[in-house]
């Protein structure tokens, strides 16, 4: 199994930390992983993206131009990465702030109202965990127990009191994934 993922959105949405938690979860499950951010003069409000690879084999190139799965959280990223999903691959997006919805018919498309769900939970910071939950429902490549371990490893000790809240957000994502277009 090799899953090549791009996660893309605004800086401040938790794109990089979602990638880190997925990567750590992969390690906990005994897998090879890589996490490669776009780095640069990025800031809150600018675009941010990260390539995460989770594989049974040693990861070769950490940098890719096409992906099995794209997790897309703003319009700029939709324009950039919808064409980069491999035919037959998966696209997950949050419709919040999206003006042009995905158009491809040769990929599986799902959505999650992550911003809305997080705000209903009273903490918009867990937005990324809602989206990650939806991803794990769409692509069940990681066992839940390893995800919780990955979460613990990724968060500094002083934030461990927030783990139940993050778990709640992941579960919300698992429950609210919506199918938009599924290939046979």
């Amino acid at each position: 199994m090799t899953e090549e993922i791009i996660i893309a959105g605004f800086g401040g949405q938790g794109v990089l930390s979602m990638g880190k938690i997925l990567s750590y979860s992969g390690i906990m499950q005994g897998q090879e992983v890589s996490w490669m951010p776009s780095y640069g003069p990025e800031m809150r409000g600018g675009t941010a993206n990260v390539t995460v690879i989770i594989s049974d084999e040693r990861v070769s190139s950490p940098i890719l131009t096409e992906f099995d799965t794209a997790i897309i959280l703003n319009q700029q990223s939709m324009d950039k990465f919808e064409p980069a999903v491999k035919p037959g691959g998966y696209l997950l997006y949050d419709p919040n702030g999206i003006t042009r919805h995905p158009e491809r018919k040769d990929i599986n498309v799902y959505k999650i109202t992550g911003a809305k769900l997080a705000s209903e939970m009273g903490n918009t910071k867990v937005f990324n965990m809602v989206v990650m939950g939806a991803y794990l429902k769409m692509r069940p490549i990681l066992e839940y127990k390893y995800v919780v371990e990955g979460l613990k490893k990724s968060l500094p000790e002083r934030y461990h009191k927030l783990i139940p809240l993050n778990e709640e957000a992941i579960k919300s994502g698992l429950e609210h994934l919506e199918e938009v277009h599924k290939l046979n």
């Binding site: 990567s23 750590y24 390690i27 992983v33 890589s34 951010p37 780095y39 950490p62």
Partner: protein, 359 residues
């Protein structure tokens, strides 16, 4: 198995430095390697091992602090990215002349000048051919993973002290910024003063009844200076005999060879897989040491090869060392991207087919 962590290359090298019993780190921040000093500072190594971390006022100050500390027989390192490493070149040349050990990390970004903060491999000539003045060489290690960023700290210091010479780790923005699984070694205690005196009898450790030790790169007597140069050259030849390191992928039946180091070798490895799926017998040689260069290994493969493609994030620098090794016996070509652009595996295969297979 040691402790498994998910870390950036820049963080892993910081942790590895603490665990390798390094005495001091002197640096100055620059993207894309600022996480090295950030990580080191946040870890409070002064409490863990007594290691000194100091942000100098400039790269020049940092490398000269390295010179001073190395002269006292301590394990000392610095890191920077391309423009900052250029500033350190004078100090590195002095250290080579004065025969002082140290480890210098370059997390290479695009140039020339301030260039860009994105990854590049355009500092190969500077690292391998002597970016500073004078006839000197350094062992140049090229890590291709976060694990190697960590492992090469310990190796780097072993080689630096074996040869009393600076060792360079030539990394780049990809390896520095990416996170991977890394297994960290056990904590090695820092050398005691007694160990330093015993291991490094040349160091300025306080005279205490012995002959005076002098650390300098200056000797105005041409005869003695030539002898000194002969001695240095002998060390570099010994490095060529003893320190060549490389890794090979899918080379047994290869008719074509990709040669790539560091981050490029990771991308090239995937390109080998794609090329083989298309029926091309391609292998990959990854030099781990860029000086000394695995020239003999390339020569030993020439009988089976129809062509060699050097893959670098530069206008073509390492390709010159391949050509020196090949001596015209097999076609050698180069493909690279510049300015912080990174080639993709598919792009490499397309270029390879164009150059070697033909339409």
């Amino acid at each position: 198995m040691g402790e498994l962590k998910l870390m950036k290359g820049n963080e892993a090298i910081g942790e590895a430095a603490i665990r390798a019993g390094v005495d001091a780190y002197f640096g100055y921040p620059i993207t894309p390697q600022s996480e090295v000093i950030e990580y080191l500072t946040s870890e409070k190594p002064e409490e863990r091992t007594g290691m000194v971390i100091l942000q100098a006022e400039s790269e020049l100050a940092a490398i000269n602090m390295v010179y001073g500390a190395a002269g006292s027989g301590k394990k000392v390192m610095t890191s920077s990215s391309s423009p900052g490493v250029s500033l350190k070149m004078e100090g590195i040349s002095y250290m080579a002349g004065a025969e002082l050990p140290c480890v210098v990390l370059n997390v290479v970004r695009g140039g020339p000048g301030l260039g860009t903060i994105q990854p590049s491999q355009a500092d190969y000539f500077q690292a391998v051919k002597g970016g500073g003045h004078g006839d000197y060489r350094m062992v140049v290690l090229a890590p291709a993973s976060v694990q190697e960023m960590a492992d090469f700290v310990k190796l780097g210091f072993e080689l630096a002290f074996k040869y009393r010479n600076p060792v360079m780790m030539l990394s780049d923005g990809v390896i520095g910024q990416m996170m991977e699984k890394v297994e960290l070694g056990e904590q090695i205690p820092r050398w005691t003063e007694e160990e330093i005196i015993r291991k490094n009898p040349w160091a300025t450790t306080g005279k205490k009844g012995r002959e005076r030790n002098i650390i300098t790169s200056l000797d105005l007597d041409p005869a003695r200076q030539e002898q000194h140069n002969h001695k240095l050259q002998k060390k570099y030849r010994q490095m060529e005999e003893e320190e060549v390191r490389f890794e090979k992928f899918e080379c047994d039946d290869a008719e074509y060879l990709f040669v790539a180091y560091g981050s490029s070798s990771r991308i090239a490895q995937k390109a080998v897989k794609i090329a083989r799926e298309k029926g091309h017998k391609v292998g990959l040689l990854r030099p781990i040491t860029l000086f000394p260069y695995p020239a003999k290994e390339i020569q030993s493969m020439l009988g089976q090869l129809k062509g060699i493609l050097s893959l670098e994030l530069s206008a073509g620098q390492m390709v010159e060392d391949i050509k020196l090794a090949v001596e015209g016996k097999v076609p050698v070509d180069h493909y690279g991207r510049m300015g912080g652009i990174i080639f993709s595996p598919a792009e490499i295969v397309e270029v390879f087919e164009e150059k070697f297979i033909g339409g």
